[in-house]
């Protein structure tokens, strides 16, 4: 059951037909495809059956579930939120094609205003809001050409569900190899109930010629609140992967617990960029998304390299520590992050770098911006094991405060068990300078523009790690997110 995928020029008839299908065809059928609220082994069996999964995967899910029920939700993070009732969540609903809107006039005006500010093209606005048939057709046809091109060089890029059907041996080999189902409360839950996500495999010696973006994955929509992503880069390969989008994402599911696993073999490189803009909640912090994500890369091979770059401006609560396990000798791990908390947003984020191989190197650059009543915490672990001879880490955490009601906190953890290890940590906290603002304004730059200029300057080291287009969008996003936080 998928959205209509007409591929050629559309006559009015087709358009009508497509709309009709939305109106009648799906809805009644859909209702039977929603699991009852709550979580037990039967629900997991149902999910696995609906997705036509092999026995081993069901077994893995069940093991994860049996482990999860022995765990309690962690409370050590520097965020606070009301209790989550895990038995009140619907863990399976068949992918639901969103009701197509006739035109942009039907889209929430607040959302449209945001789109305009971000400079998103009309066609793109329509696609994001689910408007009109031709746009859907457009993106499908783009995605199809894109897929053909990738297939020609052996790159597999598909939904996780498709991968389970078409490449079970790869999924079985790598699923849970970086983040075992016992890893933590949210990863266990995800392992038990994940519904979909992305799968990406780069064969030996292939340099993926384009940025892989969830944007182009046909059924990117509605991957649900328990997303699962797996990326494997074989020897001597390279891939750059983009996740998310700068457009505001609203979701009725308040809690999101995704898992992302990356595996880089000998001399392979994975660059993973995220722009996250989930709904942050209103000025009082109500209704925002809880984003509890486990992301980790395994730099398994010699000379392998994994880079995480993230720009986080959304969510009511963000709780994530993208990390790299540096197992291969000479492997490199990088983490570049911009996290903005405004309104009542809270973020507890940072990175984990685990050095196992010899001469492994890691870099952490974290830029935290707090405005309004935002609370921003950096929490990082640098763990240099016995075997990691000559390992090096450089960490830099900078915090920028805007206004007097926000906060920034830093909790760096360092464990060094090899005497040849070198760890450097630099941290700074600054208030956005009155003097800097006055200087800009004296030159004629209006206050809000000045704030966004200063903040973007503060984040430049991270932005320059993003692919060009993404970087431009990220800058705009930051400016829009900061609106109204001065004065």
């Amino acid at each position: 059951m998928t959205a209509p995928t007409t591929t050629t020029g559309i006559s009015d008839e087709v358009r009508d037909l497509a709309n009709q299908e939305y109106q009648y065809g799906f809805v009644t059928e859909l209702d039977t495809d929603v699991a009852p609220r709550g979580l037990n082994e039967d629900i997991i069996r149902l999910i696995s059956k609906k997705k036509n999964e092999p026995e081993w995967l069901l077994e893995w899910r069940l093991q994860a579930f049996r482990h999860w029920i022995t765990l309690t939700e962690p409370t050590w993070q520097h965020v606070s939120y009301g209790p989550v009732d895990y038995q009140d969540i619907i863990y399976y609903a068949a992918p639901k094609p969103k009701k197509a809107l006739a035109s942009m006039d039907e889209v929430d005006p607040e959302l449209r205003e945001m789109f305009d500010k971000l400079g998103i093209s009309v066609a793109e606005q329509e696609r994001l809001s689910g408007v009109a048939v031709d746009v859907i057709v457009d993106s499908v046809s783009v995605a199809t050409t894109f897929k053909d091109k990738l297939a020609a060089i052996g790159v597999i890029f598909c939904s996780f569900s498709e991968a389970v059907q078409d490449h079970p041996e790869l999924v079985r080999k790598y699923l849970g190899s970086v983040i075992p189902y016992k890893d933590n409360f949210f990863a266990s839950l995800n392992s038990a109930v994940f519904t979909d996500g992305s799968f990406c495999y780069i064969p030996k010696g292939v340099r993926c010629p384009m940025e892989l973006s969830t944007y182009f994955r046909i059924n990117a929509a509605d991957t649900g609140q328990f997303e699962r992503t797996l990326i494997i880069a074989e020897d001597d390969s390279y891939v750059s992967y983009l996740e998310g989008c700068t457009a505001p994402m609203r979701d009725t599911n308040q809690m999101h617990a995704a898992v992302v696993e990356l595996v880089a073999l000998d001399n392979a490189q994975i660059k993973y960029s995220t722009v996250q803009n989930w709904y942050p909640g209103d000025a009082e912090g109500k209704g925002g998304v809880y984003n509890f994500v486990t992301k980790r890369g395994l730099a398994a091979g010699v000379n392998s390299k994994i880079s995480w770059t993230q720009v986080e401006t959304g969510s009511a609560i963000t709780w994530k520590y993208p990390g790299v396990v540096l197992k291969g000798d000479n492997s490199v791990g990088e983490f570049y992050s911009v996290a903005l908390t405004a309104r009542r947003q809270q973020a507890d984020t940072g990175s984990k770098m685990v050095h196992i191989g010899k001469n492994t190197k890691s870099t952490i650059i974290s830029k935290a911006i707090s405005a309004g009543h935002g609370q921003n915490t950096y929490r990082g672990l640098v763990d240099i094991r016995h075997s990691a001879k000559g390992a090096r880490n450089f960490t830099q955490c900078d915090s920028l405060l805007i206004g007097k009601d926000c906060g920034a906190h830093t909790f760096p953890y360092v464990e060094v068990k090899n005497p040849t290890g070198q760890v450097e940590h630099e941290a700074s906290t600054s208030k956005i300078g009155e003097e800097q603002l006055l200087y800009c304004r004296q030159r004629g730059i209006p206050e809000e523009e000045a704030v966004s200029m200063i903040v973007n300057g503060f984040c430049r080291e991270v932005f320059k790690m993003l692919p060009m287009e993404f970087a431009v969008e990220a800058q705009k996003l930051l400016s829009v997110s900061l609106e109204g936080s001065v004065g």
């Binding site: 800009c440 206050e447 200029m453 300057g457």
Partner: protein, 258 residues
């Protein structure tokens, strides 16, 4: 062009300006001298709209009530300050900053914005005035600049933004003689019929390079004396003693003011 009448300014109950009166006509360059703490920099701050002061009196600029405008609107009206201590803005390119500033001004004045290529051409031409090379433009605003480089960067901004009224707040302080000459040449090149300047300085030597139409001596928040450029020379010899009425006016020779 600019008329300041009975200007008072205080900060947390401490009165710093105590009734300043001053008038500048288009094309004129006035110098303000005076001992530390006499209120010279406060005057500059009040003119550009720095927050934190309680201000009374009036400042009329080309017929507009300057005190009613925000700092950015004053800039759009044509007011410029070469800061005494230009602040660093890490990560913001100097070129980008100046282009944004110029385009903001142009936008507020209803003029078309300059594209990066046109701006580059303009900047390159103006950089010659202050003998700056291209490498300054790709660095972050004032970051890691030496004292002299910062001051030259201020004059470069003045050359690019082309204000109608510019205040130079101790632009000479911390400059060696060569840098002073470069800065003064830049300033002199920008003197014009339609532009007025107020040069705040401790040192008579700057006025050898930038020859003012009038010199004012500020003591204890007031203009204690005004005169031609000979007044500066007289001050150099006799100090500020006897000029003011009260506390800040005690014997302080100009040359050792810093």
């Amino acid at each position: 062009m600019l008329k300041i009448e009975n200007l008072h300014a205080s900060i947390e109950d401490k009165e710093i300006l105590r009734g300043v009166n001053l008038e500048l006509k288009a094309g004129e360059v006035h110098a303000i001298m005076g001992p530390n703490g006499s209120g010279k920099s406060t005057l500059a701050s009040v003119l550009i709209g720095r927050e934190g002061y309680t201000v009374t009196g009036s400042v009329s600029f080309q017929g507009q009530d300057l005190l009613a405008l925000s700092p950015e609107d004053r800039a759009a009206a044509g007011v410029f300050l070469a800061f005494q201590h230009p602040v660093e803005i890490p990560g913001v390119g100097n070129m980008y900053f100046m282009r944004t500033a110029l385009n903001s001004l142009r936008r507020q004045r209803g003029q078309e914005e300059l594209d990066p290529m046109d701006f580059l051409a303009l900047a390159q031409e103006r950089m010659k005035l202050v003998e700056m090379d291209q490498s300054f433009m790709s660095r972050s605003v004032n970051e890691g600049f030496s004292g002299g480089e910062k001051k030259r960067n201020e004059i470069l901004q003045m050359a690019i933004l082309e204000p109608t009224f510019a205040v130079l707040d101790e632009t000479d302080s911390g400059l060696d003689i060569d840098a002073l000459r470069v800065v003064a040449n830049g300033v002199n090149a920008l003197r014009s019929e339609g532009r007025a300047m107020l040069v705040i300085t401790h040192h008579q030597r700057l006025l050898d390079y930038i020859v003012p139409d009038q010199v004012h001596v500020m003591v204890a928040g007031q203009i204690a004396r005004s005169g031609g450029k000979d007044l500066a020379i007289e001050l150099e010899e006799n100090g500020y003693a006897g000029l003011g009425q009260q506390e800040n006016a005690d014997r302080m020779p100009v040359g050792s003011a810093r």
